[in-house]
C-alpha cells in the first residue's frame, strides 16, 4: 500500500443536505409506497378469504349431493385397497376392526 503523503486527506463525498420540502416529499413517496403495499396485501387477504370460503361452499354442496353419498361405499373399498397395498392384509384388518369398534362405541 503506498504511504499517504502528509497533508493529503482521503476523498469523502459529503451527503447533499436535503431541504425540508425535499425530505417531506421523500417521506410522502415512501408513505405512498407503503400504503400501496398495504392496499395490495389487504386485497390479497380478501381474495384468499373469498376463494377459501367459495371452495368451502362448493365442498359442502358436493358432500351433500346424492352422488357423493351414493358412492361412499366405493370410496371406502378404495381406501381399504390402498391400505392393503401399503401395510398388508393383516394390519389392514386390524385397523378396520379397531375403526368399526370405535364407531360402534360412538
Amino acid at each position: 500500500m503506498p504511504p499517504i503523503e502528509s497533508g493529503e486527506t482521503p476523498a469523502v463525498v459529503a451527503p447533499k443536505k436535503l431541504t425540508v420540502s425535499e425530505r417531506l416529499k421523500q417521506s410522502e413517496a415512501e408513505r405512498e409506497r407503503l400504503q400501496h403495499e398495504v392496499d395490495e396485501l389487504s386485497t390479497i387477504a380478501l381474495s384468499k378469504w373469498l376463494l377459501v370460503a367459495h371452495h368451502q361452499t362448493n365442498q359442502a354442496a358436493i358432500m351433500q349431493s346424492l352422488s357423493w353419498r351414493v358412492t361412499k361405499p366405493l370410496r371406502t373399498v378404495r381406501q381399504v385397497q390402498l391400505k392393503v397395498s401399503d401395510v398388508g392384509v393383516a394390519e389392514t384388518a386390524r385397523v378396520v376392526v379397531t375403526t368399526l369398534q370405535k364407531r360402534r362405541k360412538k
Binding site: Q35, H36, V38, D39, E40, L41, S42, T43, I44, A45, L46, S47, W49, L50, L51, V52, A53, H54, H55, Q56, T57, N58, A60, A61, I62
Partner: protein
C-alpha cells in the same frame, strides 16, 4: 355448483362493496379515491368507519355487502364484537374471520347486489314460487295486484336456501299480481331462474311481510328486523298455531314460534280482524317483560268481497240445493262436523248436495277422503274439489243455496266474506272473527263445538226458502267493503306510518 376463479370472486365482491360504500363510509366523497386503491383498501376504510359508527345497521349491511348473504342474529353479533374488540391495524382480518362462516355457508359470493334505499320492499316469496291459493295467498295476491303499479313498491322473493332477498322473475310477478289472468307454463317448462336474479338489499327502508314466512326464512328475517335498521311491518292473520295448538300439526306451532321472533323486533302489525289484532296486541304486551318496545297493532279488517273475476260464473240448472263448504281441510275447520250433520239430514230424507272446496295436508285429507268415499258409496251426493281457480269457486258460490263454515278458530274467515259478497247466506261460528263478519247480517250463527246446532241450522236452510230469502235480504243491505278499500287502508295504516328513515 360452479367453481369461480379468484379474479371473478374478487371483482364481484369489489362491486358489492362499492354498492354499500356510500351508505357506510363516513365520507362518501372518498369513494372514487378508494376505488382506485382497490378492494382491500375500500374494505379496510369501510370497516374502520363502521367500527367508529358502532351502528348495528351498518354492521348488518357490511355483512351483506361482503358476503352477498343476509346474516343471522348471532352472525351480526359476532361480527360486531369482532370489530369493536379489534384494533385498527387488524380490524380487517378480524372482520374477515368473524364473517367466514356466513360467507362459506351460502352461495352469495358470486352474486351482485342492489340496494333499495328508503323504499318499500314487500316479501311475497311464497306466492311467487307456489301455486297454493288459500286464505293468506288470496289476501296477498288481491292486495299486491292493487299495490303493484299504483304504489312505489319492490316485490321480492328469496334465493334458494334463503340466503338473501332477490328480484322476482316476470312469471313470479304474474303469479302474485295477475293470479286470474296469467298462464302457467306447461309442466317441466319453467323459465324462471331465481339463481340469476339480482340480490336486493333493503336499507333504511320499509319491509312489509304480508305472508307468514317459510320456516327457513324466519331467523334471517328476525335478524333483519332486529339489526338492519329497516322498519318492518306485517299482516297479522291469527295466532292459531299457539292459542289453538291442539288443532294444528306440531310443526305449524314450531314454525309460528319462530315467526313470532320476527314480530318481536318489528314495528307494526295490521290484524285482519279485531280478534286477530287482539291476539297480536296481547303478544306485544308480553314483550314488555323483555324490555322491548311495543309492536303497534292496528286493525285493518279484510273486505267482504269477491276475488277479481275474469269470466262470469255460469249457473248450472240442477234442482237439488247445493251446500258449499270452502276452506282448507283440517280439523280446525270442522269439516267432519259438516259431514256428520249432512249424513243425519240425508237420513231424515232431505235432498241436497254437499261440495267441499279447498286443499289440505295429506295427514288429514287421506282420512277425510275415505269418509267422503264411504258416503258416496251409500248414494249421497258429496264431492271434494281441490286446486280450483277462482272462477270455479265463484261458480260454486253462485250455484249454492248457502255455504257453511263452522270453524273452531279463525283469524278472519275469508269464505264467510266471499259467500256474503256473492249474496249467499252462511252458517258460521258464533264467536271471534266470523261473528264480527256476521254483525252486518246474512249469517246463521252456531256453536261449532255443538254439532246438533249445525244440524238444526242446516235443516232450517235446506227445508224452507223463507229463511234463505230473509238472509239474502239482509245481505243486500250490508255496507260494502272492497279489496280496493282494503288495499288502500292497509297502505295508509301499515306502510305510511313506517316510512321515514332508519331505526338505529
Amino acid at each position: 355448483m360452479t367453481v369461480l376463479p379468484a379474479e371473478e370472486l374478487l371483482d364481484t365482491a369489489f362491486r358489492r362493496l362499492i354498492t354499500v360504500a356510500p351508505h357506510l363510509l363516513s365520507d362518501p366523497a372518498a369513494l372514487p379515491a378508494l376505488r382506485e386503491r382497490g378492494a382491500g383498501a375500500l374494505l379496510g376504510q369501510i370497516i374502520e368507519d363502521v367500527r367508529a359508527s358502532k351502528r348495528n345497521d351498518h354492521v348488518w349491511l357490511l355483512c351483506v355487502g361482503l358476503t352477498g348473504t343476509f346474516p343471522l342474529p348471532d352472525q351480526v353479533r359476532s361480527a360486531r364484537r369482532a370489530l369493536l374488540l379489534s384494533t385498527g391495524d387488524v380490524a380487517l382480518i378480524a372482520f374477515l374471520e368473524s364473517t367466514f362462516d356466513l360467507a362459506a355457508g351460502a352461495a352469495g359470493l358470486a352474486a351482485d347486489i342492489e340496494i333499495v334505499h328508503r323504499g318499500v320492499v314487500v316479501d311475497v316469496d311464497f306466492c311467487a314460487t307456489h301455486l297454493a291459493h288459500t286464505g293468506i295467498q288470496r289476501v296477498v295476491r288481491q292486495t299486491m295486484a292493487r299495490w303493484n303499479g299504483t304504489r312505489d313498491v319492490t316485490l321480492v322473493g328469496w334465493t334458494p336456501g334463503g340466503l338473501a332477498m332477490r328480484s322476482l322473475t316476470p312469471l313470479e310477478t304474474s303469479r302474485v299480481t295477475e293470479w286470474n289472468s296469467y298462464t302457467e307454463p306447461a309442466d317441466g317448462v319453467d323459465p324462471d331462474d331465481a339463481l340469476r336474479a339480482t340480490l336486493l338489499v333493503p336499507f333504511e327502508s320499509t319491509v312489509i311481510l304480508p305472508e307468514v314466512p317459510q320456516p327457513h326464512l324466519c331467523a334471517v328475517l328476525a335478524s333483519l328486523a332486529e339489526f338492519s335498521g329497516n322498519r318492518v311491518g306485517l299482516i297479522g292473520y291469527d295466532a292459531i298455531p299457539i292459542v289453538s295448538a291442539d288443532t294444528v300439526p306440531s310443526a305449524e306451532t314450531e314454525r309460528f314460534v319462530h315467526y313470532l321472533a320476527i314480530i318481536k323486533h318489528s314495528q307494526r302489525v295490521a290484524g285482519i280482524s279485531a280478534a286477530a289484532t287482539d291476539d297480536f296486541r296481547g303478544f306485544s304486551q308480553a314483550l314488555q317483560a323483555q324490555g322491548l318496545p311495543v309492536v303497534e297493532s292496528v286493525e285493518v279488517s279484510l273486505p267482504i268481497a269477491l276475488p277479481d273475476l275474469v269470466h262470469e260464473p255460469a249457473l248450472e240448472g240442477v234442482a237439488s240445493p247445493l251446500v258449499l263448504c270452502v276452506g282448507s281441510q283440517e280439523p280446525r275447520k270442522n269439516q267432519d262436523a259438516v259431514l256428520f250433520a249432512a249424513e243425519l239430514l240425508w237420513r231424515e230424507g232431505l235432498d241436497f248436495r254437499v261440495r267441499f272446496i279447498g286443499g289440505g295436508s295429506a295427514w288429514f285429507t287421506q282420512g277425510f277422503d275415505r269418509r267422503i268415499k264411504a258416503l258416496v258409496k251409500k248414494g249421497h251426493d258429496v264431492e271434494v274439489w281441490r286446486g280450483v281457480r277462482d272462477d270455479a269457486l265463484l261458480a260454486s258460490y253462485a250455484e249454492a243455496r248457502f255455504s257453511i263454515f263452522p270453524s273452531l278458530h279463525e283469524g278472519y274467515g275469508l269464505p264467510v266474506a266471499e259467500s256474503l259478497a256473492m249474496g249467499v247466506p252462511v252458517i258460521t261460528s258464533g264467536y271471534g272473527s266470523t261473528a264480527e263478519i256476521a254483525v252486518g247480517g246474512g249469517c246463521v250463527l252456531v256453536d261449532p263445538r255443538d254439532e246438533m246446532t249445525i244440524v238444526d241450522a242446516m235443516r232450517s236452510l235446506i227445508a224452507t226458502t223463507d229463511r234463505i230469502e230473509e238472509l239474502r235480504a239482509q245481505i243486500a243491505t250490508r255496507p260494502s267493503r272492497s279489496w280496493d278499500d282494503y288495499a288502500n287502508e292497509l297502505w295508509d295504516d301499515l306502510v305510511v306510518p313506517l316510512e321515514g328513515g332508519a331505526l338505529v
